[in-house]
Symmetry: C2
Subunit: 597 residues, 2 copies
């Protein structure tokens, strides 16, 4: 059995010293209760549930998987009880509106807590993730009646939510969907089949609220003709009590590479005449509602990249400290623990530095979400929203690609034992592989970054963000010691490369979108690497200050500076190559005709 | 069911026009029979067996796996019959000594054929791979009696071979093994447990010849005290007939991430008093014998990286040509096949160019093996052996890391379907993940490249090889057209970076081996990238000449030049970053103390 221990010291470091939680987030209107003591208590308690309850179910969940029997999906042993415990302790409600029973805590804090659920048991954590999407869609676009009837139970987690987008012919191209909705009095009748529905059916909650994209009979083609509907598994009476079952069923479960405990359902709506659904938002405006769900889901999938990496890292580190094999390469007869071998150490430092970089990125975007919603100054809110919009595809794709790499390194550190399933390292590798795919493949994210986030506003938002990163150079200029000056030089070079790639795309995109899009994935990689490197530099500055102030654990701070330097040396230095591939490497991407393949 | 079609045109291109098979290999003494017609016939027939018999068993093998029941290992449905067909058609004997029933065909050709077995069914292909190791160990180090008794049946494949190195405490550190061998008349009694024994027990052949590393009672500690023994599953009478069973059994099978059809055994020797074994080579000289098996096995594992990538590539290409999703990014209403989307195209070009680069590298080392064994000029033989020695770790690690990346991209091209096991893309991803681990982890390969292959001779061999690559610049200097001049510039820069990294390691290694070894994996990556890029440049030159001569299929040649240019643009351009990481990026790798992790 593999274990997980929430890295609370690391989390607090990022919250307190990298993203300025106490000064900038806990001071936002409505967040006044997020005192350091409360944050401590929340992280402590969440860490216990994650480590003691959810983590031990991770491997059993993988082995048993969720199974469909006679129309009922049974989750693996222990999942029902764990979910009850999760709901009863109020964890599902953490970031949501107090008017509907939420605790109204900052997203930055919720991000740290959600990291724990994901790291402990990524299959389990998918369930509340989808519920969050439903809460945001209903909360932002639902009528008061729907809010009153559904939000309370969704916020508490007594009911769970799903997102029903994909159909066999409509994957990335949501606009191609064919599920039908026909108006029938105060509701609609929904008919169609959806695939890849995460936690579409299960035995952990008494009701499941499906958010379903469908098309009205007279709807225009493509994305402009889709509407969003709330389709409960069990109908809800006006007084909130449960009524009869709706015309919705799980037709089958997918047999997947990973996340076996998370039931991935084929959902069938309206086999017996039409499932009852309620419109969310305006007719034919489903895409806007969908993006409300989707954007937070994308960030949350990026968070899964971090989380699975953290779990894999803990396991690999533990193994590397215990496994004794071969003498030191510098000589000696006695075998040593493998953490002492340079190439193993390189792998561990890679895992550590990338994981910390992802954490900084995710908590940073969590803080930006809070600012965008709560800051009293509209201009500040807008600027923060700009950061969230810009970084959403970056966080989703960069953290999930990186998460896959880290879980693969996790296997490698284990040697042959890593390939044996009992060890558990392989599960993280399998589980992580879905992250670059769902909620929009990483290719879709790259196109989103290029098209919607860069070209649409002529680069204004991106250039402003890059200029903001460049300002750190002034702070770094006065830093000294062994590492910070090197981090400074490397960072400023890397920012320059990002800027150059951005300019090239802004110039090329309008002229030749195929050429620009050929480099979009590399550009996203460059953007993620540089932004993460910038945050690691901020972390290094904070740690350097902390260690000089005798502020706590000097060895901890020293390790933070060293890790940031490693990230600069081994990852920020790739910026020039990535820029070159973006600006000079695309000529042959589309050059071959299809018959030449 | 996924299909496989041997890429014979691509294979012939590399054999004929990149490594000069007809001029340089088929003309070696003993290879005169390898006429173009024979090569055609061999590739055609092998392609049929691979595509029609082995490939269809790949997915069923994954699902059923090999199972242990009452001491008997049953391979999945169809494997026994396929193996019989493989042996009866003489495929096992392809590259081996005609004195023992081999066909004596060149390794370069055998490499192409073995690529097919691996691509069709990597679990199946492991069986003859291990047999090859046994043949080479017995052939190179066995007594005449052992050769006469065992080689014929091993060469034909009627009996299969295994390599028994690993023990729980002795993985990478082979010298830590504890299996005992005690002399007992003309043979030895072997006692001990070996783990991770590929095809250690199965139902495809009537006998299994285990090559077992063990320690004599008075042996010195470490690698200088291990000896190699031949331990048959069934004892062999002096007349070659089968006698009683030996004291060897399979205690259990591992439950693995991939290659489920390949039985990975815990082997127990001597539970009933001692398994009868025969010494191979001298007492306490087992390491040298092991390296005879190991070096060819390492190249063959590199070949698996290529092969699994080729299989994943074929599947992804097929899907990308058929799957219709989303309109062209440049506009239009109708959805198109996804091969027309730039980011999908980028992924496909990555798969195609890397796979072709690996093929060039592997056939090149196959040709060097032939030259090293057959060339009449001792100096040429020695130089070729130098190339084989130098490139063995490079081929093993670079091709297996790249193979893992390619199989991951194969999943990504499939989107959500890639994560569903029925699609088959995920199997390649799982199967490929063992390659960077076995026959010496890729970290071990990096240390081998740095220590044994670079530092030991003061860089003489590596520097000569790099200088040889640089000579291509003279040929490229007279090339023109859209792509070749760019390839030239990029290649010469990349060779310069490799040279600089090499010099730095030669200077640093003797002073600070920890610092040098911290960059060893990146150096290996650089070495593989540049060598592959050099061979892709050779391929581009040949294709360019071919297309201008109207020599065959002009569109095919044009695609080869385009693909080489893509490789230069997107991979060779990373050389500078890799060099920088090697020479400037290692300072913090070993900087943290263990308690700081």
């Amino acid at each position: 059995m593999t274990v997980y221990s929430a890295p609370i010291q690391d989390m607090r470091f990022v919250l307190d010293q990298v993203i300025g939680f106490d000064q900038e987030i806990a001071t936002l209107p409505g967040y006044e209760e997020s005192t350091p003591d409360l944050v401590d208590a929340v992280l402590e308690e969440a860490g216990k549930l994650a480590g003691e309850v959810l983590a031990p179910l991770n491997q059993v969940g993988d082995r048993q998987g969720s199974v469909l029997e006679n129309g009922v999906v049974r989750t693996p042993d222990g999942f029902r009880e764990a979910y009850q415990q999760f709901v009863e302790a109020g964890w599902n409600a953490l970031p949501f509106d107090p008017d509907y029973g939420g605790q109204g805590l900052p997203y930055a804090l919720s991000t740290a807590v959600t990291e724990m659920w994901n790291a402990a048991n990524t299959s389990f954590a998918l369930c509340p993730l989808l519920t969050q999407g439903a809460i945001e869609a209903v909360g932002s676009h639902g009528t008061q009646v729907l809010k009153d009837l559904y939000l309370g139970k969704l916020v508490s987690g007594e009911w769970t939510g799903t997102m029903n987008l994909t159909e066999p012919q409509a994957g990335s191209d949501v606009g191609a969907l064919r599920t039908k909705a026909v108006k029938d009095g105060d509701h609609y009748k929904i008919t169609g089949t959806k695939i890849f529905i995460t936690w579409g059916e299960h035995d952990c909650a008494e009701n499941i609220i499906h958010l379903v994209l469908a098309r009205l009979p007279d709807a225009p083609p493509g994305t402009k003709g889709i509407s969003l509907f709330l389709v409960p598994k069990v109908l809800v009476n006006p007084d909130g009590s449960l009524g009869p079952g709706n015309d919705v069923k799980c037709a089958s479960l997918e047999h997947k590479l990973g996340i076996h405990a998370s039931p991935t359902c084929v959902m069938s709506f309206g086999d017996e005449g039409g499932a009852i659904g309620y419109l969310i938002g305006e007719e034919n405006n489903g895409m806007a509602c969908m993006f409300t769900m989707m954007n937070s889901a994308r960030i949350n999938v990026g968070l899964m990249g971090l989380s699975t990496a953290e779990r894999a890292w803990q396991q690999a580190l533990d193994y590397a400290k215990q496994r004794v094999q071969s003498a030191d390469i510098a000589g000696g007869r006695e075998p040593v623990t493998i953490i002492q071998h340079p190439d193993v150490r390189r792998m561990l430092m890679t895992m550590k530095s990338q994981t910390e970089a992802m954490r900084a990125l995710l908590y940073y975007i969590g803080g930006a979400m809070d600012t965008s919603r709560r800051h009293p100054d509209a201009e500040v809110r807008e600027r923060a929203q700009g950061v969230v919009d810009l970084l959403t595809p970056v966080v989703k794709a960069w953290c999930t690609d990186t998460g896959c790499e880290i879980t693969s390194i996790g296997i490698q550190v284990h040697g042959g034992m890593g390939f044996v399933e009992e060890t558990g390292a392989a599960q993280h590798f399998r589980d992580a592989r879905i992250h670059p795919i769902y909620e929009g493949t990483n290719g879709i994210q790259a196109n989103d970054l290029l098209g919607r986030k860069l070209l649409r506003d002529g680069g204004a938002n991106a250039k402003a963000f890059i200029a903001g990163m460049r300002e750190l150079d002034n702070v770094l200029a006065s830093a000294n010691g062994q590492h910070l000056p090197v981090i400074r030089t490397t960072l400023i070079q890397a920012i320059g490369e990002l800027d150059a790639a951005t300019d090239w795309l802004l110039e090329t995109g309008p002229k030749d979108i195929h050429l620009a899009a050929s480099g979009a994935a590399h550009y996203l990689n460059l953007f993620g690497t540089v932004t993460a490197g910038w945050l690691m530099a901020k972390a290094a500055l904070a740690a350097d200050a902390g260690s000089r102030e005798g502020n706590g654990d000097a060895r901890f701070y020293e390790a933070k500076v060293t890790t940031a330097r490693f990230f600069a040396d081994q990852f920020l230095t790739r910026a020039a190559a990535l820029r070159r591939i973006v600006t000079d490497g695309g000529e042959t991407v589309m050059a071959m005709t299809e018959d030449q393949f």
